[in-house]
Amino acid sequence: MPLETIEVPLAGKVLKVNVNRGDKVTEGSEICTIESMKMENPILTPVSGIVKEVGVTPGQVVKPHETIAVIEY
């Protein structure tokens, strides 16, 4: 099964994380929200599948290309 790694697109702070390891997600659903530039940026999954790994926790400061989640699809 292929893995899709969802990366942080822009530097900011994680506001909330909507998924846990093992959750089933559908394409387009919101994985987490990152606050940056005084805006809330929803991060969506581009694939449907199972969450294999979650790399962020709420309140965490993140940089571009860090792993938010890995989805097996």
Binding site: L10, G12, S36, M37, K38, K63
Partner: protein, 531 residues
């Protein structure tokens, strides 16, 4: 009356002191001069005619109203450098951190309009905390003079609009001696030349506290906008200096090469260097094998008056050299490949650097000398795929040369093949005269690449492809590309010269070209410079 004069002088000397003594002391402790000390060093002694020293800051309704702000944190005026007039202004960091109040805006606009209408260059010495927020929020009580100062130059100018309108009319120079961030930094960055002092001046869109607030990222002033970053990576700074004094001295030297405005030629200086001087050192610099590096600066120094050359963007895109020198006392712009740095390759950054310089020389009546020896573009996946796109950025110098109307002379010293000819200028593009040295190798294509294309089948099917390639190359060089004569026979260059003659020949040719007037082309509002 004498009592009133005494009072005037007392008040004046109070204002001339600038910020509070402890602020002045703090400025000195940081190793920085005050705004007034800087201006006194910039202009000839006693020549600063200050404008609006007496201006009163706007009441804002915030506690800052209780503080006296002499001159509203800026000194503006007209001063002389080597006897020539210049509009100058300097932010006074000892007054409210040199922040921009409404009165400051008024003063700076006035001096920019003065530069534009009276056709004088504008020099700014930057050291400021940016816009004064309290003033921005304040009551709109005092704006009658704003922008209305001089309708003939467009009326309501502001400090961000003026540099664009002045651009190409009068030269603009920024000397960064302290910080400036965000929009406030746009006005100084739009100037023609930038001198930055190391470790005290910083310039970026986002200041460290703002970056932290909006993206939670830590970065230092140095990382975001230090002199080193802007001199080496972004190319924004032409010069980096270690002290205020050095920065101001470079500014004074730079302006000796430039005219006051776009209708004049740069001043002619008696340099005392013999126009017929021949230099034997020119026989020794270029190696017999052109693939070996050598320093093009040496050739420049042998040719120009007294070896004096003021180089711009020296630490940026180092495989190309740009700067000003004099030939028989007259300013010339030098554009030269430097085989001593990365073989003199052309890159995205050399193209940007070169195009802007050519455009500047053209705007301000400075003839351009091209000294050519380059293997061509840096062929790499990274350059082609970069955000600047090699094929999008590459034509910029070509475009600039084709548009230029000033005298342009090329001296081919070493290699120049194919596309590189379009970057370094051909006769068809508007170069007036092209010379070469006996060491030159000029052709429409690199002979080795030509062999691989023309004899692809033979080389691929041969048992010893290298030998076939070598034989074919030798044949080609002997029968078709007999360097340096090939380019002469094809009229790609006009004449070949003894390297020792370079100086006298260039001086004579420049005299011949002095009255160049390009034939008019189709009417247009302006061209669309390649992005």
């Amino acid at each position: 009356m004498s009592g009133r004069i005494k009072e005037v002088e007392e008040r004046r000397s109070h204002l001339l002191k600038g910020g509070a003594p402890k602020e002045v002391e703090r400025q000195h402790q940081m190793g920085k001069l005050t705004a007034r000390e800087r201006l006194e060093k910039l202009v000839d002694p006693g020549t600063l005619e200050e404008i609006d020293l007496w201006i009163r800051s706007v009441k804002t309704g915030f506690p800052i109203d209780e503080t006296e702000l002499p001159g509203d944190a800026v000194i503006t005026g007209i001063g002389r450098i080597d006897g020539r007039p210049f509009c100058v202004f300097a932010h006074d960091f000892t007054v409210a951190g040199g922040t921009f109040g409404r009165a400051l805006h008024h003063k700076v606009i006035r001096i920019m309009e003065m530069a534009l209408e009276k056709r004088m260059p504008c020099i700014q010495l930057v050291d400021s905390g940016g816009e004064r927020l309290q003033d921005g929020f304040g009551k709109p009580a005092w704006r009658p003079l704003l922008g209305g100062a001089n309708p003939s130059v467009g009326g309501a100018l502001n400090i961000y609009q003026a540099p664009g309108i002045m651009s190409g009319v009068v030269p603009q120079i920024t000397v960064m001696l302290g910080p400036l961030y965000a929009g406030s930094a746009y006005s100084p960055t739009m100037a023609d030349f930038m001198i930055m002092r190391n470790k005290t001046s910083f310039m970026s869109v986002c200041s460290p506290p703002l970056l932290k607030a909006i993206t939670f990222t830590d970065a230092t002033q140095e990382e975001l906008g230090g002199a080193e970053l802007h001199a080496t990576i972004t190319g924004t700074a032409d010069f980096v200096t270690e002290t205020d004094e050095e920065a101001i001295e470079i500014c004074r030297e730079l302006v000796t090469y430039i005219p006051l405005n776009n209708t004049e030629k740069p001043p002619v200086v008696d340099t005392g260097d013999d126009p017929n001087r021949m230099d034997d050192r020119l026989l020794e610099i270029v190696p017999a094998d052109l693939s070996e590096p050598y320093d093009m600066h040496e050739i420049i120094r042998c040719v120009v008056d007294n070896g004096q050359f003021i180089e711009l963007q020296k630490l940026f895109a180092k495989s190309l050299i740009i700067g000003f020198a004099r030939l028989n006392g007259r300013t010339v712009g030098i554009v030269a490949n430097n085989p001593g740095k990365e073989n003199g390759i052309l890159t995205l950054n050399t193209c940007d650097k070169q195009a802007r310089f050519i455009r500047w020389c053209d705007a301000f009546n400075v003839p351009i000398i091209f000294l050519v020896d380059t293997p061509g573009f840096l062929s790499s996946v990274e350059q082609e795929q970069s955000m600047d796109g090699l094929i999008r950025t590459g034509p910029k110098p070509t475009f600039a040369i084709c548009e230029a109307t000033v005298p342009m002379i090329t001296v081919c010293i070493g290699k120049c093949f194919g596309l590189a000819r379009l970057i370094m200028g051909t006769l068809r593009m508007g170069i007036d005269v092209a010379y070469c040295w006996p060491s030159a190798q000029v052709a429409r294509i690199n002979p080795e690449e030509a062999i691989d294309v023309i004899y692809k089948k033979e080389i691929c099917s041969a048992e010893e492809p290298d030998r076939v390639r070598r034989d074919k190359l030798a044949w080609l060089l002997e029968n078709h590309l007999d360097f340096p004569y090939h380019a002469l026979k094809q009229a790609m260059v006009n004449d070949i010269m003894d390297p020792r003659d370079t100086r006298p020949v260039l001086i004579k040719t420049l005299e011949n070209l002095a009255n160049k007037k390009k034939l008019p082309t189709a009417w247009k509002k302006h061209s669309l410079v390649p992005q």
